[in-house]
Symmetry: C3
Subunit: 135 residues, 3 copies
């Protein structure tokens, strides 16, 4: 058995990481699946999905700062006409999926882990998908 | 049910990203599986698999350029005797798998998404695997 | 059918990459599953899991060196009070999972591939999980 869910979200900043763990948990509850794996999938090429620290919001700020520092937006050698090549790079590096273990009805997450949707070229209307496979 | 496919490809440049979406789609068609997840797996340590923009080829060129800029090939501190440590770094960062959702007989991809095989140490004979699991 | 395994490990250096392939192979043997997919999951936010070269240990040293060079620990702009933001960045970039294909009772790995647990903020007591799903 499997279930497929679809989520819309609106980002309001140019670069942002938004917690989506509660949305994935709600999908798990609705699915009634208690053991399996979960795939969270981002269908965009200038955003991504990752897992990182949930407690101190400075961690996320430091992460976005590091990305801006190492992969600056305004490199004069970029060829892509839209001017957002830096966001494509960040998306590729962050990855557009996370994989989770579902055990005993709960998502297996470390104490400090939350799932984040990352927008590197907002603000925009975005979406992500959740596929839960029993097993 | 599941299906396992094997693909060979020959890269002709030192660094390149090659669209393989049509090959994965063909595997899906042959598998006759209409719902599940797909794992695309690269068995090499100086190449990788990623998902990024399919429309403007400049995006891929900017991505490879950024990787060369930030992770240059000729760092004198590299110890590995083969001289391709930069390619191992890029492979680790890009990742050697992508995960896809299969729904209603179609791979769930965003409008601008294609799957790419990335070679960071070509030209070489390369391969990749596709595992489709029903669910 | 599926099986879920739990592993503890103790890292003894500040930054390290430790081969765990043999541990995942042992889980596969115990599971008695011969075809499917394997998810190796790290529940920490300053460590990760990756696949890279197993032969020359200099590759791993070059990888950790490159990470230290490009994402230095002591950036004065970091806000996070624990002072380990660089490790959170490395964790996000390396990723906290790997996905493997299980075929004919064997993990499908390239000749030069091994699975590594990466600690970017050790030494610590760490753990990782292995979920094997039949299919």
């Amino acid at each position: 058995m499997s279930k497929f869910f679809n989520h819309q979200l609106k980002t309001i900043e140019r670069e942002t990481m938004i917690k989506i763990t509660h949305l994935v948990r709600e999908d798990v509850r609705k699915s009634k699946i208690i053991s399996g794996i979960i795939l969270v999938y981002c269908p965009h090429t200038t955003s991504g999905i990752t897992i990182n620290e949930n407690a101190d919001p400075h961690v996320i700020m430091d992460l976005l700062y590091t990305f801006r520092k190492v992969f600056p937006a305004n490199d004069p050698n970029y060829l892509h006409y839209e001017g957002n090549s830096h966001a494509h790079v960040k998306s590729a590096l962050m990855g557009n999926t996370v994989n989770l273990i579902l055990d005993n009805g709960e998502i297996v997450l470390g104490t400090w882990q939350d799932i984040f949707f990352c927008d590197f070229d907002g603000p925009r209307e975005r979406e992500f998908f959740v596929k839960i496979i029993e097993g």
